[in-house]
Symmetry: C2
Subunit: 294 residues, 2 copies
């Protein structure tokens, strides 16, 4: 990973009317210290984020990512992000990208403890080479997320469905998958329904029908999955959000994990049970996902 | 909150034999940037921490806090902290404390992304005035933690029982308690058992018997609770770790929330049902907790 660019942002109120936000941006060197230890991102994982793919200088699905940032802010009682300011900041950072694949992170922290003003920054770095995952696929294991399907709706303080900086469990689940000899994990509820991967959305195919788990079940609404649904619908396939039992993941004709940087990774096995990879369709999906989209 | 001191630490291997760790410490100004944005504490809440009370320059329960730091590191696949190095760092920072009550935070992050070397630091700041909570008490509401009692044992990747920097849910629970007009929250399992408060341990009294929920249920083993048990046993009371149904919290003769900085806060009501406060015993507990302990 090599840094390409980094920008500190002074967040403005969501109804700020200024046309130019240049005076609220401050480029910085990500190799140098930039955050105070009192920042609640570092002290308590108390903030939200988004990761965008940037392809040949074009930031992908900016609208969908900003929609989700606003959604996360609402779930976490954070001030509503100013979309114009964030769009301007994204454009400024993307200008440093150059050719190839990069990953842009948007971060909004609750701020420094005792000073209730959010802190925000954007980083841009080279993306890892995901060719192998896209072409040869990945095998996954299912891991219990610990809660029943109905919990997110009745316990909003658990912030399930917000993309928060409290991401240690997601990283621990990927380590557990590696310990079990797999590439990645898929979270399931304690009562046996498919949720999401630690950093990706699950997509299943049965015949000409593509299904992804209901985002209302306390999971992230995948920005890449939205793009893939739009692509598949354009090709005449049926798409649907559903409550997906674990057995459906195992029995589906094909499965993918979708995310902003790795894009569409076909699943080759679930808990050791092999799955057929539709290589032609996967390649088409990834070609689409590598094309400029807003 | 006013900063008193801050120290960056270069963590050494747990079997390092040097006698003096001064060359691994670097004092810094906590008002200035000290962390890189790539630090996984800030990016993903991926690290662990401890908060100690420091009374008139004496850091309290250092051994119990370091035991728990080691326990959290193991649960999170982090390198084992070197106890001699941490003890030396704690002593150095405590020397800046002066009189009165302060709070010391120990933080161990997984490090900067792509550089698998942990980062670590200690901060010392003035403690908030907790006189009112200790004397007049606090009212609490119970909030569902989202999982059943048996989940932590069978899903270790959820890191329940580790004191991680992914603390956003704990902060959200306290905000939810305030929204409901209460001072603090007590987490209960989905199947109705008492766990812990977002930043404190629950202690219940029934007659001459004091009970706290089993730490094996994916909660923190309270350092202050350990001290209080030792104090109560010295006074001839019975103490026990048990599985505690929510009804027992409501029906107990008295209840407290115990933590390193607020110390023993008597509970005045649970979900609106009033509780009697044993003011004499509470004052005695807090006098004990304010005395120097190791």
């Amino acid at each position: 990973m090599a840094w390409r660019s980094a920008l500190l942002i002074d967040p403005v109120a969501s109804d700020d009317r200024r046309g130019d936000f240049a005076d609220t941006f401050r480029p910085f060197d990500p190799e140098q210290p930039a955050l105070r230890v009192g920042d609640l991102s570092a002290q308590r994982g108390d903030g939200i984020f988004e990761s965008l793919g940037v392809i040949d200088g074009h930031p992908q699905e900016v609208g969908a990512h900003l929609d989700r940032l606003v959604h996360s802010a609402r779930l976490c009682d954070l001030p509503t992000p100013h979309l114009g300011q964030w769009r301007a900041a994204i454009a400024r950072v993307a200008a440093d990208a150059g050719a190839g694949e990069n990953v842009m992170k948007l971060l909004l922290s609750r701020g420094v403890e005792g000073q209730p003003v959010p802190t925000a920054w954007i980083t841009l770095a080279s993306a890892p080479d995901n060719t192998r995952s896209r072409h040869e696929g990945i095998d996954v294991v299912t891991l219990d997320r610990g809660h029943a399907l109905d919990v997110p709706a009745r316990a909003p303080w658990l912030q399930l469905g917000a993309k928060t900086l409290s991401y240690a469990v997601n990283m621990a689940a990927i380590r557990e998958a590696h310990r079990r000899g797999a590439d990645d994990a898929v979270f399931v509820t304690s009562d046996g329904f498919v949720l999401e991967a630690p950093t990706a959305t699950v997509l299943l195919r049965t015949g000409r029908r593509f299904v992804t788990p209901e985002p209302s079940a306390g999971i992230l609404h995948g920005t890449t999955q939205l793009s893939v649904f739009s692509y598949l619908e354009g090709r005449g396939f049926d798409t649907a959000y559903e409550t997906v039992p674990r057995a459906t993941l195992v029995e589906a004709d094909a499965a993918w994990l979708l995310s902003s940087v790795r894009l569409a990774a076909p699943v080759t096995a679930v808990d050791g049970a092999p799955k057929t990879v539709d290589r032609a369709l996967t390649d088409e999906m990834n070609a689409y996902l590598l094309s400029p989209r807003d």
